[in-house]
Symmetry: C2
Subunit: 312 residues, 2 copies
């Protein structure tokens, strides 16, 4: 892995309180940039841009460093770290936010270091679209820019968000968000509409049902669709971070390959599903931390077998 294909991520670094039917965890390491970076680091070098307060434990910082994640862009400022408190009930597909304290994240104004501006791959995690836009514009000549967003920004910052969508290659969102963004109940039509606004691909996360990617076809080819199943799991402990780990593995895998073509992007989606499947098997990064190449390859093969059927 050369620095050439280093991935940069801008997002939240958080201390989360999470409650699920299987337990609770307080003040635990979380945030989109953290899950993304860890997952991405399994495939590629990654540089994290974020902000933490003076309550953020040094052990977390050390852990990220030891993993080889570049944290030069992780700024520590006076105040408290971003704090999310949420609950999942019986239906683990739905997160109920009980409290969000932005704290130091409220004044977050990401400034990329010179070498980060040269990166080939950028992921804009789910933050204010105005910030996302500011970050994209700091980049020199990225090969691929991907972004996530959420209903809160679709409702409240539509104009900025539309600008972001016009400047990115891949949009990675969940299916309710895709429908909301397009103002269209049918997912296929919704994605067609969004692709007309600029992105080359739309990666739609569907929780336990897997991921569907819609790819703008070239010329007369029309929209291409790829459907990936999720890894069937006997035990889902905490879905927090699933989407960001998906994105991290997806971008990391793409960055690790020489070419970006249909075959690579499809495998990247599968890698995303594989890594996300580990994340949800534990609280925080508990399970993700244990992941190695062998366990990744094993689940990749499993998804291959799960989705295979013979021709007629």
């Amino acid at each position: 892995m050369s620095d050439d294909n280093k991935v940069v991520v801008v997002g939240s670094v958080a201390l989360d309180d999470v409650q699920t039917p299987f337990g609770r965890r307080e003040v635990s390491l979380g945030g989109s940039a953290v899950y993304f970076s860890w997952a991405c680091s399994l495939f590629s070098k990654v540089s994290m841009i974020g902000v933490i307060g003076d309550d953020f434990p040094d052990e977390h910082v050390r852990m990220l460093e030891e993993r080889g994640i570049d944290i030069s862009g992780l700024e520590r400022v006076r105040g408290k770290t971003f704090h999310w408190r949420g609950r999942y009930d019986f239906d683990l597909n739905i997160a109920h936010t009980l409290d969000t304290q932005l704290n130091v994240f409220a004044e977050f104004s990401p400034k990329l270091l010179d070498y980060q501006r040269e990166a080939k791959y950028l992921f804009l995690a789910n933050i204010d679209p105005a910030l996302q836009l500011d970050v994209v514009r700091q980049m020199k000549a990225p090969r691929i820019v991907a972004a996530d967003t959420m209903n809160f920004w679709i409702d409240g910052k539509r104009d900025d968000l539309e600008k972001v969508i016009g400047e990115i290659d891949y949009l990675i969102i969940n299916d309710a968000e895709a429908r909301q963004l397009a103002g269209e109940g049918n997912l296929v039509t919704a994605c067609r509409k969004i692709l007309e606004r600029g992105p080359e691909a739309l990666v739609v996360k569907q929780g336990e049902y897997g991921v569907t990617m819609f790819h703008a076809g070239k010329g007369n080819k029309g929209m291409e669709i790829f459907s990936a199943p999720s890894v069937p799991l006997d035990s889902v402990i905490d879905p927090t971070g699933a989407g960001d780990s998906f994105a991290g593995a997806f971008m990391g895998y793409i960055a690790s390959e020489k070419k970006v073509n249909d075959s690579v992007i499809r495998r990247a989606v599968i890698m995303g599903c594989v890594v996300a499947s580990f994340t949800v098997e534990g609280f925080s990064l508990d399970r993700l931390k244990e992941v190695d190449e062998k366990s990744i390859r094993e689940r990749f093969s499993r998804l291959k077998k799960i989705s295979y059927f013979d021709d007629l």
Copy 2:
């Protein structure tokens, strides 16, 4: 197709009032046995057992006959035909039942004709488990018996339903029903539990997300899983009958093949998804009636392409 592999279905024949965001249709041909039979007839001979009242239009009867569906077991009695009135809102995955009038269906007591008792394939559509049980026991030596059910019977007729589950090979239900039946939130664990009660396979319908099949492994092999995506559709007009057309094509395809092995069952699931995708593109049997071999093969290939990815 020899009579040997004829499929028998027992279920409802209905006149439906359906309202969706795309229109409404009144007193239109519906019912589980009707959707099942039509879909099944695309692959295999099929014999329908059901009951209609004297209000049931002759043209529907003629249409089924012209399709080659054996309606010797379709009994006409005095009274009104089973009538379902339902509505689908923005989320087409959820049917809201406004009214159910059992009418002549209330006294339905299916009696199989001698040659039907000899059939190799039986599908018990979603009816009272006591009737399902009675029908299974009329069969001589079926190769495969499959059944559908719903929350209403899981709640209200648990004992009879458990007996049915103990006597069938495949259970074809939706994922909320699988969870409810097992009393278990995790789908994989839920299916594992249900398979322990006897069935060889559990086919879990997940609406627009496709279908996942859980197959009891032999010996030490453990449970096998197959995930099939749905056909992405730009226009879904009316989801009524999707599940029954799925089951019809699934059983019909299996009956059309000499052997029943993993490869055949997987292709049967895909065939189910293909045929169901036509059903939902129109009200009643409007779209399903137009389906031919070419259009089926086309969508089958499409699903192959949609789910394909290269090995690492």
